[in-house]
């Protein structure tokens, strides 16, 4: 019961703030709602006992990326963006498409509910301690993909540094 209340609270928070991110005109308020949406998602992770995922979401997205977002936003002249048109003329087409995709999803869940098999939820103790399990899996079973992803990130980082570097 309490679990459901908590879940619906975070889910509603995430959904509403995600909508507000695209509808608000003031870009700083958009950023704040984006932070709220990310933190609400983190809350859902926490409720699922995925503590490591929760804190990584908070540190990386809310604490890292969004700080840089806000940092850049503050250097922009807000007055110009306030007077520009927020959407282009095809916004109704986008809305229509979004509704169709949404209807699809709802239909799929509604139909699939009776047809698709639902697995038994894993006992909470199986995932304890979650941080150690994540570490073992990443550095054991999925070592190669993990290293490949690291190298990809490293290449992207070096690329960014090279591009941003002034000619000396």
């Amino acid at each position: 019961m309490l679990d459901q209340i908590v879940f619906y609270f975070f889910a509603a928070l995430a959904a509403i703030s995600a909508v507000l991110v695209v509808t608000r005109r003031n870009i700083v308020q958009c950023a704040i709602f984006l932070i709220t949406a990310l933190l609400a998602t983190a809350g859902i992770f926490l409720q699922l006992h995925a503590e490591f995922l929760f804190i990584v979401q908070v540190i990386l997205y809310a604490g890292g990326i969004m700080v840089l977002f806000v940092f850049v936003i503050m250097l922009i002249n807000l007055d110009i963006s306030l007077h520009q048109a927020q959407y282009n003329r095809q916004w109704w087409l986008g809305l229509l498409l979004a509704l169709v995709v949404g209807a699809h999803l709802i239909l799929a869940v509604a139909v699939g509910r009776s047809v698709l098999p639902f697995g038994e939820p894993a006992p909470a103790t199986m995932l304890e301690p979650s941080t150690q399990i994540v570490g073992r899996t990443l550095f054991g079973e999925y070592m190669l993909p993990f290293e490949i992803a690291s190298i990809l990130l490293l290449v992207a980082m070096i690329g960014a540094v090279v591009m941003a570097k002034k000619k000396v």
Partner: protein
């Protein structure tokens, strides 16, 4: 019956701990400020606050009342909602981070298995309070302060995080409680195994809490008061509270990771068991000093106040001494680790904060480019080397069977060698490089 009690304990203990932290923290903050003013005064050969209460002991309360009844001004052109909520973000983040701290083995709100990451991550969210507050004030000084703060925090968080990683490698866990237990099993505090990591953490944590010599976000001589220029009254007090809460948080992280948390010095050595008497002895000493100073106060009320204070310290000494009596210890075996653990933890946190004050009054403020250079070109490379060094020491110790006494000094020496080279190379580059209009 037993199960019911267990259930009630599992709910009420965290709740009471949370209430204690939220209720006591503003008061503690006030007294840290008083301590800071007194230390500053002492270093500058002055007396500091002396008027309110004997030796200014009631000054924090007077300050709090003044701030509460002051007018709360919101600038006309400010973004009101954000201006209103920004200080709250900072305070909430700081206080939330405290929930995973283990102040003694019994005083902890939640023992998360990502405890330390939780503290680091949540307290980092406080930056939004500073940045949004600076932006919403609609003032250039505030905005510049906020920008500096964001840049500084992002730069130094990497170094602090890597220093933390070094100690976590030694502990092998993220839970604050288990980190402290690991140091107990290990025999020494991690500061002796990873001194370079501790040094990096000290420097980075000063920068993260925006304190001198890295207090550029609120540099008075350049930016009036930085991001809180437009704030007044209660909201300003909230920023102040957040700043000092963050100090307590970083001091607690350092205590947990490097200084052995709630462990007594030489916790595993029975020869040093006499240190168990230290908490009571310290309290009796402070109480006796209060009584000694009491008759010298000019006003009758102040004399009385000092007397009561002295007796209160004696009372605390008695409470701390109670678990040392064999019979009491047999009856309540949890009392001693709980009380003495909290004492040692708070003593270490206090010493760390004292170190902060000491540095603040000793060093002049850095320039912004110097700050960035120190962070990116010295601390971050050094912290990465430090992690590698600790990893190497652990491999030598665990796989190759070297003893602690050879593996850790060797890798520390290697790390220091790299530090020397980094410093030397940086200085050399400094001489070649002339900054033109760079700030």
């Amino acid at each position: 019956m037993h199960a019911v009690i267990q259930y009630l304990i599992s709910i009420w203990v965290p709740l009471v701990c949370a209430l204690v932290i939220v209720g006591v923290l503003p008061l503690v903050t006030g007294y840290i400020v008083l301590m800071e003013r007194k230390v500053m005064a002492d270093m500058q050969a002055r007396l500091g606050p002396m008027r309110v209460g004997p030796h200014g002991l009631l000054q924090p309360i007077a300050d709090a009342v003044k701030l509460l009844i002051k007018e709360d001004i919101i600038p006309d052109e400010a973004d009101k909602a954000i201006f209103w909520i920004a200080p709250l973000i900072s305070v909430t983040a700081g206080m939330l981070a405290m929930s995973a701290l283990a102040i003694g083995p019994w005083f902890q709100i939640a023992d998360l298995n990502v405890g330390l990451l939780f503290i680091v991550g949540i307290s980092a969210l406080g930056i939004f309070g500073i940045v949004l507050g600076g932006w919403s004030s609609n003032s250039h000084y505030s905005l510049l302060g906020a920008l500096r703060s964001a840049a500084q925090l992002v730069s130094y968080e990497t170094a602090a995080g890597m220093a933390v990683v070094g100690a976590l490698l030694l502990a092998g866990t993220l839970s604050t409680r288990e980190i402290v237990t690991a140091q107990g099993d290990y025999g020494t505090w991690f500061i002796f195994a990873a001194p370079v990591g501790f040094f990096i953490y000290v420097v980075a944590s000063i920068a993260e809490t925006n304190r001198a010599p890295f207090d550029l976000p609120e540099a008075e001589s350049e930016l009036v008061a930085g991001y809180m220029t437009e704030y007044s009254g209660f909201r300003w007090a909230l920023y102040f509270l957040a700043e000092y809460t963050n100090m307590v948080v970083v001091a607690s992280i350092a205590t947990t990771l490097f200084l052995g948390g709630w462990l007594r010095p030489f916790a595993g050595t029975p020869a040093f068991n006499f240190l168990d008497y230290f908490p009571s002895a310290l309290m009796i000493f402070v109480g006796a000093y209060c009584l000694y100073r009491a008759p010298k106060q000019p006003v009758k009320v102040q004399q009385l106040f000092m007397m009561v204070l002295g007796l209160a310290f004696f009372g605390v000494a008695l409470i701390l001494a109670a678990p040392l009596i064999g019979r009491v210890n047999d009856m309540l075996p949890g009392l001693k680790p709980g009380l003495h653990g909290a004492f040692w933890f708070l003593l270490k946190v206090g010493s760390y904060i004292y170190l902060f004050m000491w540095l603040r009054f000793t060093f002049p403020r850095y320039r912004f480019d110097q700050l960035m250079r120190l962070g990116w070109q010295f601390l971050i490379p050094l912290s990465i080397v430090n992690v590698m060094g600790i990893g190497l020491a652990l491999v030598l110790h665990r796989q190759w069977g070297w003893s602690h006494w050879t593996a850790f000094p060797l890798t520390t020496a290697l790390t220091l060698l790299v530090a020397g080279w980094l410093g030397w190379a940086g200085e050399k580059k400094d001489k070649e490089h002339v900054f033109v209009g760079e700030s």
